[in-house]
């Protein structure tokens, strides 16, 4: 089963970059695909990669990430200014970001205006299926501990 978790921008806008990245990465490590409103800052994207690299172990092999956002090339001066002011006041809520665990999302193909998500369906008995099962059981045991 594939789980998508929507993260509205309002949920993370008050967080510092580290906490924001931590929140997103925790969801991904629970084998869920994050659908985030808006996009991370370029520096936060590299921070996410660094945190991901530090988290890689037997059960977690990394992430697939993709951001899609509206083209702003042909905006007129005043529209551009209005948009920039909006970004300064309420943050960059344009576009959508998808982050998924590499064990579930094999590849995200991106055209400027289209995303294609290729997921992994492990064959029964294969090494990938065993790893997938191990990740599932570890994430569910984590949840049980949390409930307790």
């Amino acid at each position: 089963m594939l789980t998508l978790q929507f993260v509205p921008y309002a949920e993370i806008e008050h967080l510092e970059s580290d906490a924001r990245i931590g929140r997103l990465l925790n969801i991904v490590k629970d084998n869920k695909i994050v659908l985030m409103q808006g996009r991370l800052q370029p520096e936060e994207e590299t921070l996410l990669i660094q945190h991901t690299m530090l988290s890689i172990d037997k059960k977690f092999s990394g992430i697939e990430i993709c951001t899609i956002f509206p083209e702003e090339r042909d905006l007129q001066f005043f529209n551009k200014m209005r948009k920039e002011m909006g970004k300064m006041l309420v943050g960059n809520r344009d576009g959508i970001t998808i982050i998924g665990p590499a064990s579930v999302v094999k590849e995200i193909k991106r055209d400027p205006k289209k995303m294609q998500l290729f997921t992994i369906t492990p064959r029964f008995g294969s090494r990938a299926s065993k790893r997938h099962a191990a990740r599932r059981s570890s994430s569910s045991s984590r949840k049980t501990k949390r409930r307790r």
Binding site: P42, E45, T46, G62, T67, R110
Partner: protein, 212 residues
């Protein structure tokens, strides 16, 4: 706004204290795009020696490598710089992927461990660069998030960028696609392995450095 002020101060300090020989040019890009092959080509063209090992297995370069004081000349102009070859930036590293290249599980795990450290190190070096050559495999789709993240970060840090579409000797190569993906940047198509179009590459490099 804070980023703009920070970059402005950094630029002024760099201009005040930088000497000609301290210019740092970094090679960035995803794994297996040919960064080290290009580093070797530049190093061989101007110093007569190679810089690092290349391989078909991804993440061959797992540590930052530096070649100091490379002096290149082009049309009576001269440029002295330190060339910094960085490990490929990736969002996932699975040791099982290395085992497809007939590497033992133990060696694959070690390679994966070193590769994760390499990615972190490459990102840390971003702030130190004066100019970056983003090396992309021109046979692949340029709209990958890693490419967008690298280029977005360089733009945010106000670092001059030259995009190099490598492997143009291959049938599937499409430099036009890279140009369409990043229309606001200089793009040059080369084959670092075969030494194809290196003249235009050096010319573009001079242009980007001059516009810095």
């Amino acid at each position: 706004m804070i980023r703009f002020i920070r970059n402005f101060i950094k630029r002024i300090l760099n201009d005040l204290f930088a000497t000609k020989g301290n210019l740092k040019i970094g090679l960035y890009g995803p794994p297996n795009s040919g960064k080290t092959t290009l580093a070797n080509r530049i190093s061989k063209d101007w110093l007569g020696e190679k810089m690092g090992a290349v391989s078909k297995i991804p993440h061959e370069t797992r540590e930052v490598q530096i070649k100091e004081k490379i002096v290149i000349q082009h049309k009576s102009k001269e440029l002295t710089f330190n060339l910094i070859d960085t490990p490929g930036i990736a969002t996932k590293i699975d040791y099982e992927d290395f085992m497809k290249y007939k590497i033992s599980a133990k060696a694959a795990k070690q390679r994966a461990k070193e590769a994760t450290r390499g990615v972190i190190e490459a990102i840390r070096w971003l702030d130190d660069m004066d100019c970056v050559l983003v090396v992309l495999d021109s046979t692949l789709n340029p709209f990958s998030q890693v490419n967008i993240t690298i280029i977005g970060n360089l733009a945010a840090r106000d670092i001059p960028v030259l995009i190099v579409g490598n492997k143009t000797d291959l049938r599937k190569a499409n430099v036009k696609k890279i140009e369409n993906a990043f229309p606001q940047y200089d793009v040059v198509g080369i084959s670092a392995e075969k030494g194809k179009n290196m003249e235009e590459f050096y010319e573009s490099l001079f242009r980007v450095i001059k516009g810095r």
